[in-house]
Symmetry: C2
Subunit: 277 residues, 2 copies
């Protein structure tokens, strides 16, 4: 693993690291903020999964999360959203291929070789973080934005016991019924829609739910509102009687101005779960 | 004036606006965050002047200032750092020409026609803001980063009564004695160094000082420390007995991770001055 940069921030360190991934068969880059407390002992870890077109960098520089994570003594990791590089399959569209991994393990060509983002986030990266940094892996939580909100919700529900809490900013809630989902799940997983259901937060909420608190925020002026389908997740949450807070925020859109506005509350929400005995 | 974008943020609005400037003879773009309170009455205004290579956008998306300005009910404006466009003079170096206006009125060709950033910030933009937005122009404060810290300090000292407080992040403190300064002041103002002294915060501190509180932060690990010369400003402040807090922050560098770390304290510092009767 190679250190790309380390900047002092909010009393801790904002690092950027690069490593050869055995899961995605390419070099992967991630950002990790470690609060000051990591010098003295392991700290809890919050995952932030980003949305379409993003790298590890967008949220790291624009979401304002470090201020609140420093206050709470929590580390936050910013993984990339896909494999990358000249040898990695891609597509001209912004919503398929590099920058658009959708947090699944692709089974279809030309994607299968590199696009193994589920395993990368669920297995390889946590193992690397655990062995390299001063993290308490028994205290993890997960959040994300848009496609990353989809990733956060699906990972949280399908890895019971891994995350104590899950939240999302403007998540894609029901990708099997959305143009943000059908296209990508079809490309990565094939035409058999049975394989898609494990990657749909609404369907997973109906099937398995989450053993912990859930928080989502979506802006009422989100320009992609119809693609996100918060109403589908809301119905599933209600039907299941899932412990959850689903909020619609008046006038907010899909941007990082929206994400940063509510970041303090999301971090506080996770801190409460992470510091519970 | 044309609205480029408006995003709801922290209960207020982050706008980006573009207008034809009579001072710089080109189209100029600026960002303005208005807190929720601006709906009900005029709010105080904080200026944020950016550093080399920046546009209006860098601090607007990376400094995390809106969270704290919203909390304090203060507007913050993010001007561009120079005139821009195909017809505007430029230089291949990152530190001269577009993105590097240095907040002076150029007198030398090829710069003189467009590079009138002092007048743009001191006169044209405040007049435009005052007539367009719900701002209390009797309550203004100013801050900035690096070249923008130089701009903030020199504007504050040379416009007595305009700003109630001035702060700076890693400011260029003594440009007449630095490679960040001599090159640019020479190019824009000519070889007669007498014209440079009005644009040197250390010399102005010795000559006129500032009628109000001054706050600066500089990182001890700033990679441009030798170019900034905080020791020169510190000496001038001490000799003058200027009301000031000059801080060196251990381990911090020149990046926006540094700026965002101390933004809360800078905004609180200005709020105290802005809300004083």
């Amino acid at each position: 693993m190679e250190t790309q940069s380390e900047n002092r921030a909010f009393g801790g360190t904002q690092g950027v690291y690069r490593h050869a991934s055995s899961t995605t068969h390419c070099e992967m880059t991630f950002g990790l903020f470690l609060p000051e407390e990591a010098k003295d002992g392991p700290v809890p870890l919050l995952w932030y999964l980003s949305g379409l077109t993003c790298t590890h960098e967008n949220a790291m520089t624009k979401a304002g999360a470090q201020a609140w994570c420093a206050e709470q003594g929590i580390a936050i990791v910013f993984p990339d959203t896909s494999p990358r590089g000249d040898g990695v399959a891609n597509d001209d569209a912004y919503d398929l291929g590099q920058g658009a991994g959708f947090y699944v393990n692709a089974t279809q060509d030309p994607w299968a070789k590199h696009f193994q983002m589920w395993d990368y986030i669920a297995e390889e990266l946590p193992a690397l973080l655990a062995e390299t940094f001063n993290l308490d892996m028994s205290r993890q939580a997960i959040t994300g934005h848009s496609m990353g909100g989809h990733g956060a919700l699906t990972l949280a529900m399908r890895l019971p016991g891994r995350f104590r809490s899950v939240s999302a900013f403007a998540p894609i809630c029901n990708p099997t019924a959305s143009d943000w989902g059908r296209k990508q799940l079809g490309a990565y997983l094939g035409d058999d829609t049975a394989a898609w259901t494990a990657h749909d937060a609404t369907l997973l909420m109906r099937e398995v739910g989450f053993d912990g608190p859930v928080l989502t925020d979506t802006g009422t002026a989100d320009q992609f509102y119809e693609l996100l389908k918060p109403e589908a997740l809301a119905a599933a949450v209600s039907d299941r009687r899932q412990e959850a807070t689903l909020r619609l925020q008046k006038g907010y859109d899909h941007s990082y101005f929206f994400v940063s506005t509510f970041m303090e509350e999301h971090v506080a929400f996770h801190a409460e779960a992470l510091y519970r005995e």
